[in-house]
Amino acid sequence: MSSPLRPLPVWADVALIPLVNVAAAFVISGFVVLAIGENPLEAVKILIAGALGDLEGIGFTLYYATSFIFTGLAVAICFHAGLFNIGVEGQAYVAGLGAALAALHLGFLPGYSLVVVAIFAAALFGAAFAFIPGYLQAKRDSHIVITTIMFNYIASALMGYLLVDVLRNPSQMNPETPTFSVYGQVPQFHELLAPLGIHWPETPFNLSFLLALAAAFAVWLTIWRTRLGYEIRTVGANATAAVYGGISPARVTIVTTLLSGALAGGMAVNVILGEEHRLILEYTAGFGFVGIAVALMGRAHPVGIILAAILFGILYQGGAELAFETPKISRDMIVVIQGLVVLFAGALEHMFRRPVAVLLARRTTSPPI
């Protein structure tokens, strides 16, 4: 019989349970590695060394983590309003268009104000693309999960058309835009540190990382310290009470999806403005979907999201090394781990809750010896 247990202490809720969930995902991944015929411990060693073993690895890890922070925050802010935005992938993709258009066509702007405008353009395009599903959810009751999934395909088709037929550099075969001028680029850390005499190997790690940390703080502030955040949380927790409190759930739904789309645009800042310096086909490469895993693992809290994003950064960078070093393990292994994290941190989030609670209860009530 299920008897009611005392609620878990806060530390167990925010730290222990996610750790147990992630550990379970890794243990099972270990078995998969074993089944492939490799030594899991060896694999972990290569993975960690590849991701954190030297400055180059760390640079790549944090570069990936930056994208994950943005996409994770985009998913998380919608969670707070009770919305499941699966469309971060498409929103980030379209945000890349905004960034590229600004960086290419507003060259008359003085100095680095160009890149600042391009950043806002990315946020604006991401928000605009998220607005449509948000509006449909708020006013037409079309479920946002369905519409955002479909909008990912629309984004893909639209961008494919634009890059092949409209934006492509005519002298080029590749479906990509011309390269941005230097003032349309977010500076990378190795460039910034070189004049100071600090040598950092050349990596795509760029200033967007600081923007991501600022965005995480801004999301925390918005959700827990502003009227808007209060309204978002009220709608997410109890829409009936929100109406009673004079809060319009429709308005909150639209505003939240706009913010979410703008955050998704951060990924375009990191990748398009910070590394590629041109818009390329399918640049998002599934990072928008990883954002779902990051938000789930980080329990929709900005601090948790930063930690989860770094973990996924390690997985991506270390996984690339792993695939390179051990021919039997392909990069798909990372997708397997990702899937398992979503499974354990999302779908089976409460599976370990009861055992942990029982264990803790036993420990605290067992008689002293």
Partner: protein
């Protein structure tokens, strides 16, 4: 001899609790074979819980069920069916895109191949149609049938499975009056065939016209059983509402001032579009408490929500200080601004946000005000201090603004809602079920606060299904039945019997 002696159903000492809620408290019920037995009671009296126990949805904490004199244990609806019990739920358990035949077969297919079972059930349906006059085209798509016919399919489902005892849970709630009459005819035919029928409702008219016997439930207890021809609507209403120890409260005479709120011919519909408030008019003055009495579900909730700006008016108008509020402007936010406070009937679903800290729940609806922070950001210290002072003023225990709302007891949660609405000093206060699920000590405290508001010159509208509460607090009482005002009284000129009559819909002209 045994045939005659054993009733169809005996429920003996049934007890069922959900957490702190004692939904069924030692309930006894005897239903004789071949009768239509009504069970009446207000919403939340425990009727549905009792029937769910009989049908195996819940298991009783203690008590015994006997079918035809045999003690049985019913752990699932499948076991209930095997004992000959069939249930027709208020919300049909039908699959709309399937045909009548397919719906009736569902769960009784009789093997992996459908054709055999389909043939025998088709035959059975035809027989039942002839025997009981329950004809339905077996190939019609259920979703395309009228509600009345869908209900007929539900009854056929039970009969095909060999039900001797039919339980109908508020079957007329979804029917038009003509469909309800057809249903009654059908049930009388079934009774003629020695079927036993349990009919749950809170409409006394149906009880009087249909049943042979009637049992009354109140607050989880079975309070009385009557032969229908030996009782009357007022007696039943009385038993349903109950006369408890009158709560005494020190209360001087009212000194009503100017009219601040006037309702004119209000018509309000519920979410399904059914008219729940049907042409209600009243006035509310400063310095008085107007009580709205009635059996739960007679339009009080919708009236309150409409006044608070949550539910739109289908017709009529509301005047504040003699001025009509244009409908598009009416929303909870505006109503707060013009000084209308609202203590909603359901604090869990409406009045509070359970996962929020108490201080966050204590500003719901007022969160845009500048005291909680001047710019976009909240001033956390101001929010906590504000909650602290409200909690102190209303003796909320524990007085911890950072504790989650859900972790307070019902009475203390209610005090948080009252503190929030009253401390903002509204001119008009709409109060719904202020003491539902609240312990005695808190009831007294809350009542005193409400009277203090009146004495401070506020205009109060009190909706309560507790007649004692209406008597103890109101300076004037209006009674609602089926969405209409059936009478207006002063508490000193009336008694529970008189109000019970009005609540049962016996209006003054008819009386």
């Amino acid at each position: 001899m045994a045939e005659r002696a054993s009733p169809a159903i005996e429920l003996i000492g049934i007890d069922k609790s959900f957490g702190p809620v004692h939904a069924n408290n030692h309930v006894n019920l005897v239903v004789e074979r071949g009768v239509i037995h009504g069970i009446v009671g207000e919403n939340g009296a425990g009727k549905s819980t009792l029937m769910s126990i009989l049908y195996g949805f819940y298991e009783a904490d203690s008590g015994e069920i006997r079918i035809n004199g045999e003690p049985v244990r019913i752990r699932s609806s499948r076991e209930a069916i095997s004992h000959g019990i069939g249930m027709v739920h208020q919300h049909f358990m039908l699959v709309p895109p399937l045909s009548v035949l397919e719906n009736v077969m569902l769960g009784a297919e009789g093997g992996p191949l459908l054709s055999e079972g389909a043939g025998s059930i088709r035959k059975r349906l035809a027989e039942l149609g002839r025997e009981y006059g329950l004809e339905v085209n077996p190939d019609a798509i259920v979703g395309e049938l009228s509600v009345g016919l869908q209900q007929r399919v539900e009854i056929l489902k039970a009969l095909v499975r060999g039900a001797d005892i039919l339980v109908l849970d508020e079957p007329t709630a979804v029917l038009t009056p003509a469909e309800a009459d057809q249903l009654f005819e059908m049930l009388k035919v079934l009774k003629g065939e020695r079927k036993t029928i349990i009919f749950i409702t809170h409409k006394l008219r149906e009880i009087m016209s249909l049943t042979d016997r009637v049992s009354v439930m109140r607050r989880g207890e079975m309070v009385a059983t009557f032969d229908t021809d030996k009782t009357s609507p007022p007696e039943l209403a009385d038993a349903m509402v109950g006369r408890k120890v009158i709560l005494k409260i020190d209360k001087g005479p009212a000194h009503p001032g100017a009219v601040v709120l006037e309702a004119r011919d209000l018509v309000v519909r519920d979410d399904r579009g059914v008219v729940r408030v049907d042409g209600v008019s009243f006035t509310l003055r400063e310095g008085e408490i107007l009580g709205v009495a009635g059996v739960a579900g007679n339009g009080q909730s919708e009236l309150l929500e409409a006044l608070a700006g949550i539910r739109p008016l289908s017709a009529g108008e509301i005047l504040i200080d003699g001025e009509v509020l244009p409908p598009p402007k009416r929303n909870p936010q505006l109503e707060r601004l013009i000084g209308i406070g609202h203590v909603p009937e359901d604090r869990h679903r409406v009045g509070l946000v359970m996962p929020f800290e108490a201080c966050e729940s204590a500003m719901l609806g007022f969160h845009r005000e500048r005291v909680y922070g001047k710019g976009a950001l909240f001033d956390r210290r101001a929010i906590i201090a504000d909650a602290q002072s409200k909690m102190k003023a209303f003796d909320v225990r524990p007085p911890s603004p950072l504790l989650k709302t859900a972790n307070f007891s019902g009475g203390n949660q209610q005090k948080i809602v009252l503190a929030r609405e009253i401390e903002r000093n509204p001119r008009i206060l709409l109060v719904g079920q202020p003491t539902r699920g609240v312990d005695i000590g808190a009831i007294e405290f809350i009542h005193k606060r409400i009277v203090a508001q009146r004495d401070a010159g506020k205009a109060l509208l009190l909706v309560s299904v507790e007649l004692d509460e209406i008597f103890a607090l109101s300076d004037r009482i209006i009674v609602l039945c089926a969405g209409r005002v059936t009478g207006e009284r002063r508490p000193e000129d009336t008694d529970a019997q008189d109000l019970g009559l009005l609540m049962a819909g016996v209006s003054e002209r008819a009386a």
